[in-house]
Symmetry: C2
Subunit: 107 residues, 2 copies
Amino acid sequence: MKQKVDFSDKQKQIARIAKALSHPARVYIIERLSILNSCCTSGEMIGDIPIARSTLSQHLKELKYAGLIQGEVEPPKIKYCLNQENWQLAKKYFSNLFDNSENYEKK
Amino acid sequence: MKQKVDFSDKQKQIARIAKALSHPARVYIIERLSILNSCCTSGEMIGDIPIARSTLSQHLKELKYAGLIQGEVEPPKIKYCLNQENWQLAKKYFSNLFDNSENYEKK
DNA sequence: TCACCATTTCGCAAAATTACGAAATATAAT
DNA sequence: ATTATATTTCGTAATTTTGCGAAATGGTGA
């Protein structure tokens, strides 16, 4: 009988990262934290996006869970930053995926 | 009063593409179609992944809807291929996103 | 016409996602 | 101790996603 194989770890990893980036609010967060590698608080972000504070908090939680960001407590605030290590890893995964089709249209 | 702005088109675009890639089956499909830029049919894919035919069909439909792949009818089969134009566009969006944090750790 | 093949659509169920406001938490300042 | 500030957690509702098997579709070949 034919053996059905599970998805590869790489496929699951890419899907996990993509899922973390699959909402505009989370893309906004990542953009904000990656541009100039600047950290900031939830309160600084909330003014720029059309969602409630509690909803933003949930998105931050998901990105944290996915390992793409991390929060440092700086009472009374929490400063969020990119998790550089994992972000670079994510970059590697995606570069790899996109490079498969690299040779298209090279004569 | 403070004006809340909508998410940018760029943020929405990235989120849409990420969503399309947020399931291992869809990552598998994209990998399969992009490696060597080879097209193939649903029937050729189904043997390699642990989901039902109808479920695979749904994933193909979503990728098609997202514009990342396209299907050419070749009776009695349907040959799926990457939509190179949109895939290259996706690559651009993501490269851009990842490049924001490029200068991290440059001394 | 009838059977066959590859694939999709349908109908449905279970689970996950997104969203909000209210309430809770934790810390700092008065 | 009380108040103020920043943020999260809770409870809940609406919507979307994922999955399957059964049935439908569109085309070929006998």
